[in-house]
Symmetry: C2
Subunit: 210 residues, 2 copies
């Protein structure tokens, strides 16, 4: 059975993977920057449906790259997304990951207010003007709170990656968010996740690198 394993050097595995993804996508044409994001999400999930689900507003990727290059921080709604983002690459520009999900004070406040921790994390992150990119990979409640904070003029992020996953208010939160005039990358429908959130940011970090 071991003879069925293709011998690929460690440093070539990713390149070979992207070649296979490109082959499978065939003649589908995407805008150049979109293509890098779409392919990295497929690389992370092996789910080609994301080629259709990824909804990228005009200039969103350019905006995100600019914010990263200027040392902007990235706020996430899960430790998993925080864990998946390439912090070494982000750190080169001076930015850092901000995630308050393990903050005990946040947990207590959320309970007292009968809301989610993710929701309060967004409020707390709103206080720092250098938190320029918001990444929601899990909680629609965070995306809804973000909608409110933007709508009332409290914050004006350079980019929102809105890819919560699931069944309760997930589709509704995304549709709501799209009514705003804010650069976004959203996965339409129920699909999304922290791994996808991290892949989208990493795609932008690696575009920067080139």
């Amino acid at each position: 059975m071991l003879d069925k394993i293709e011998i690929v050097k460690p440093e070539d595995i990713e390149k070979r993977s992207f070649e296979i993804i490109t082959d499978i996508l065939g003649d589908t044409v995407f805008p150049a920057l979109h293509e890098s994001v779409i392919k990295r999400v497929i690389h992370t999930t092996a789910d080609f449906e994301f080629a259709k689900l990824l909804n990228i507003s005009e200039g969103a990727i350019e905006n995100g790259i600019k914010a990263i290059k200027e040392g902007g921080n990235i706020v996430t709604d899960t430790m998993m997304a925080a864990s998946g983002i390439n912090k070494k690459e982000l750190g080169k520009y001076g930015g850092r990951i901000v995630c308050y999900m393990n903050d005990e004070v946040i947990a207590k406040k959320a309970k007292a207010r009968n809301t989610t921790r993710a929701c309060l994390c967004m409020e707390k992150a709103s206080a720092d003007k250098n938190n320029r990119i918001f990444v929601i990979g899990n909680a629609p409640t965070a995306l809804i709170r973000l909608y409110e904070l933007i709508n009332e003029g409290t914050i004006s992020p350079d980019l929102v990656v809105g890819v919560p996953v699931g069944f309760v208010n997930v589709v509704e939160s995304k549709e709501l968010f799209k009514t705003l005039d804010v650069p976004y990358i959203i996965t339409d429908g129920r699909k999304g996740g922290s791994n996808i959130a991290a892949a989208i940011i990493n795609a932008m970090l690696y575009m920067n690198r080139v």
Copy 2:
């Protein structure tokens, strides 16, 4: 638009999500323990294809739960999977997460041997007999190394969660692994990921809790 948001108490969101998943799965019947794992993976991905892709060997879940209850450690091939597993719940039984992916010595050795870090992480983790569950959410090279370590009799894990994702040797590594007589939970095909790996372990931790 905000009026389209369903009002669900934070503590009820997960319960409501599982009700919706159950509705969508309809009349499909799964063995009871399998059902909890399958539903949690769908909860994490909103991807119903996993109901078909999850391949659970006989007694695998029971074995995993037993190892957890006896304080066994869980080895992961990514920090993201480590980050997604409920460590508070695992800690109740005395077990901990073991992940060497950020170990600088491992990185250097992998380069010198022209192999992947994930592969060397499996070797290092093999030295501790209390590392009883191995969870591969990303690297097929780790699953292949695990196959070799088991095949040569170095280790005999209580459970292997083999859900690498991607395009190079992913399907092959899973098919290879299934030829072993070791309890496994595998996602057939290319799909998988660290989020799915964490969801499978969390499903077992929450079954323990009940």
